[in-house]
């Protein structure tokens, strides 16, 4: 695992505090979507299909900071839309870093070199660029429906690393992904010098343009087993090893939909980052009035049946690490041995 010690400590102490306080439901990562606009239209994305007046909307920095305060999570992930198209992204990140929040800025990197050249960001242990990379050149450009995006993202990664920024990658895998090519892709990202990689199966968004390539659960287990069963020591993942074992089918976890709550121009999204079953005006209202028992695999909800996405299951894995000696031991063992 490649997460810096200070970040691990911040998360661990936060989780312990929540547990000591007896909180049954607490967030780990705030998914902050300041806009829905994007400069790509990826085949597997169901996030950006809105009428023009909605795509023109931005949260204000003040709205974002209020959400961060309300939620209290130690990590803030900024997806979207494309966050580098958010006019105040520099100020937003600066404010979050000043609050000692660990920020993952999730970007397709098309605008990253331009923003770096304009000194919009300053390197910090609190800021990571999480670059969307769905595979090597052919696979990635196919996934984002535009040629040349992979090459630009690679150049942007190099530029960010040269300037001393933390850089991770974020990879979504779909049905038909080739395990050998994916392993080659991991090698390439490590060669580039990224701090760590995040991987997840895609969620079958009802609104995504491509409805044919979402992974069903058994297929996902098979795919991730083939990719991760003999991992190279040099591969570093910026996520819980227990979550990776879950992807491989070695662990049976239930979803923690409140673990990564989502705030966007509509408010607090129920119940999670992926499903849109309504909105709450405040974080407290989200936690207290969402019918959580209707979600997760055991609920029988069709929309949750095949979902194995990290926003729901990584919080479960993290909670497992800190709620039992066995979970802690298994996490340490996987981290030290590099095996899942």
């Amino acid at each position: 695992m490649s997460v810096p010690l200070s970040q691990m400590w911040a998360v661990a102490s936060y989780v312990v505090k929540q547990r000591l306080a007896g909180r049954a439901r607490y967030p780990l990562v705030l998914m902050l979507e300041p806009l829905f606009r994007c400069n790509l239209a990826c085949a597997g994305c169901g996030k950006i299909q809105y009428p023009a007046q909605i795509l023109r909307k931005d949260l204000t920095v003040e709205q974002c900071l209020r959400a961060v305060e309300e939620c209290g999570a130690p990590i803030v992930s900024i997806p979207g839309g494309e966050p580098l198209m958010y006019p105040e992204i520099g100020r937003l990140v600066q404010e979050l870093v000043a609050r000692k929040k660990y920020v993952y800025l999730c970007t397709n990197a098309l605008l990253l070199r331009e923003k770096l050249d304009a000194d919009v960001f300053a390197p910090s242990k609190y800021l990571s660029f999480s670059i969307h990379m769905d595979g090597l050149r052919e696979e990635h450009d196919e996934a984002v429906c535009r040629d040349g995006v992979y090459d630009e993202a690679v150049e942007a990664i190099r530029a960010a690393l040269r300037r001393g920024f933390r850089v991770t990658t974020n990879t979504t895998l779909f049905d038909g992904a080739n395990p050998l090519r994916t392993r080659e892709f991991f090698d390439t990202m490590m060669d580039l010098g990224v701090e760590g990689m995040m991987i997840s199966p895609g969620y079958s968004y009802a609104k995504a343009p491509d409805q044919e390539h979402f992974l069903r659960r058994q297929r996902a287990h098979e795919l991730f087993s083939r990719i991760l069963s003999s991992p190279k020591r040099r591969w570093k993942f910026n996520q819980s090893p227990l979550f990776l074992q879950f992807l491989m089918g070695k662990r049976d976890y239930e979803c923690t939909p409140w673990g990564n709550p989502t705030y966007n121009v509509f408010g607090w999204q129920r119940p999670c980052y992926l499903l849109q079953e309504g909105y709450a005006a405040t974080f407290q209202e989200l936690i207290e009035t969402t019918k959580w028992e209707h979600y997760g695999r055991k609920s029988g909800n069709d929309k949750c049946r095949d979902c194995m996405v990290h926003c729901g299951y990584e919080p479960t894995a993290v909670n497992h690490t800190f709620s039992s000696w066995r979970g802690f031991r298994d996490t340490v063992a996987a981290t030290l041995t590099g095996r899942f």
Binding site: Q49, P51, G267
Partner: protein, 116 residues
């Protein structure tokens, strides 16, 4: 109506075949602008981004075509909802990308076998 069919252009008549609650659910799920027809005949065109049916007085929330709002409208104040705007989730750009990619592969003679 199948779930996979676009509702673009749908003009539902509230009655025995479809209830207001069903139409509101469809409008909430729809990724385009709609026209909310109020009980007094007034119309509001915009995007229905939320509905809350689990409160004593159920309501919907709408951003209008100019992006102003949100406007709260009670279920009891809605006569019907017309699906007047373009369905932005209909997948046109993806279909165009697939066609372009296929055309490019055919031109370069690299079309893979279907099971490759």
């Amino acid at each position: 109506m199948k779930d996979t069919e676009s509702l673009e252009g749908w003009v539902p008549e509230i009655g025995d075949r479809v209830t207001l609650e069903e139409v509101i659910e469809r409008a909430f799920d729809y990724r385009g602008n709609v026209t909310v027809v109020r009980a007094d005949g007034a119309r509001l065109e915009g995007y229905v981004f939320n509905r809350n049916r689990d409160v004593p007085v159920p309501f919907i929330q709408v951003f209008d075509r100019a992006g102003a709002g949100p406007y709260d409208i009670l279920y009891s104040d809605i006569r019907t909802i017309l699906f007047t705007g373009k369905d932005t989730a209909a997948g046109g750009s993806y279909a165009a990308w697939l066609r372009a990619k296929e055309g490019s592969k055919q031109r370069s003679g690299t079309t893979p076998a279907p099971d490759a």
